[in-house]
Amino acid sequence: MKPPPFSYHRPQSISDALEMLATLDDAKLLAGGQSLMPMMNFRYVMPANVIDINRIADLARIEETEDTLVIGAMARQRDLELSPVVRRRCPLLYEALRNVGHVQTRNRGTIGGSLAHLDPAAELPAALHALDATLRVQGKRGSRAVAMANWSMGFMTPNLEPDEMLTAVVIPHWPKGHGYGFAEFARRHGDFAMAGAAALMTLAADGTVARLALAATGVDTGPVRLAEAEDMLRGKMPDDATIAAAAATASSVPGLDDVHASKEYRRKLAVVMSRRALMTARARASGKEAADG
């Protein structure tokens, strides 16, 4: 239960880190360590080189622009949870964060780490998928932007070349007063979701759904957008029956079979969590739920 030997590197800047990624063989970036260290302790992952990016100040900024929230990849989950800017502009992220591990893991864990690790049952990738976030990726050869929709290339495989690193997450704002909801089912608070859903909603003046995003976690190798449910609800009155019918389409997700839950159970959970997330989003979108204190 101890990590095997490796060479340790501590870059002080993004360019140092990129240089290391480009030249070192068999290297892993060490961010918050809450996913990598367990794997190293178990010896599932045995990199020859560990690049500790915790000292790169440039990577931890939270910046609010007129249209977006730009969050550095090394921003600690706990700092995001406590950030008034995040709470105000992106409350879905706040709500998702409350379900990520425990305070002690959020004190070290980072938003970038969660995205780069891409556990199928992680909360943040699903929330960011619903938010249509764009990820900034940098390599020695240059930088590029990856839409969340194109981030997952398969099981725990993000759209990152070996010499690239995620540097920031760009989240476009939803209008003030938008509805949001995050629901997940796990055996214990803080566990990875067996299935979870993230919903965002705005209503038009006539009460119909103007804008909707719904994403699920724990039901496929990566986060999924529930486009069928979204299509069903857009332009309609989000009454209980319509929401339930839209949520029911979540049963078409692939599901995952493991010791915690069967494929079928996860599909069922996806439906229930979708419905709950949508109901909460609706309540908030129509102002029926008091703002969180």
């Binding site: 010896r43 599932y44 290339m153 995952l256």
Partner: protein, 187 residues
């Protein structure tokens, strides 16, 4: 666990059978595989690298045809390997069947995969192993179609099979295509 996969090739079953049972010829198309020894007419030794997300596994072992029906185009392969860094072992019982599909062939594969040791814990889910094997078989089929079946010439052995180490699936596919195309002078 049971895995079921299939893929199509644009040649009739008899031709497909001949090529697929020529292990030395098709081995370079298996992502992450390296044939190290032909032990006898039915038995092969080799290495297999598989990437399950951030975990790179390297298996070393043997595969042997335990059943083979050249007329019916069915076969059964028994493979076993130990993980190079003491993370466990894998045993696979693989049944192949080729059936005609229009002018081509559908290759059906049913694998009974047993993992033991730490590798069995990791991967955490049948769904993940199934999706990784689906991806691998897809790439195998693509490689077959583009190279071995396309020009019918025997495929030269590449220096090393694309191992997928620390490369995303999409990038790996591009790499395999480029690499094998280069072999055929088409890069």
């Amino acid at each position: 666990m049971q895995l079921e996969n299939s893929f199509d090739v644009p040649v009739p079953p008899a031709d497909a059978w001949r090529i697929l049972t020529d292990v030395e010829r098709v081995a370079p198309c298996v992502p992450g595989a390296a044939l190290t020894e032909v032990i006898d007419a039915e038995t092969y030794a080799g290495r297999m690298q598989v990437k399950l997300g951030p975990v790179s596994l390297a298996f070393e072992g043997k595969a042997a045809f335990v059943e083979r029906d050249d007329a019916a185009h069915t076969a059964r392969l028994s493979a076993s390997g130990r993980e190079a860094r003491n993370r466990g072992s894998a045993n696979a019982d693989v049944r192949f069947a080729l059936v005609p599909n229009g002018g081509g062939t559908t290759v059906r594969i049913v694998t009974d995969l047993q993992l033991s040791g730490p590798v069995a814990q990791y991967g955490r889910s049948q769904g993940i192993i199934a999706s990784v094997s689906e991806e691998m078989i897809g790439r195998f089929a693509q490689c077959l179609r583009e190279n071995i079946l396309a020009n019918g010439a025997s495929a030269p052995r590449p220096a090393e099979a694309a191992s997928g180490l620390s490369i995303g699936f999409g990038a790996l596919l591009r790499l395999v295509r480029h690499f094998v195309a280069r072999l055929f002078g088409r890069a």
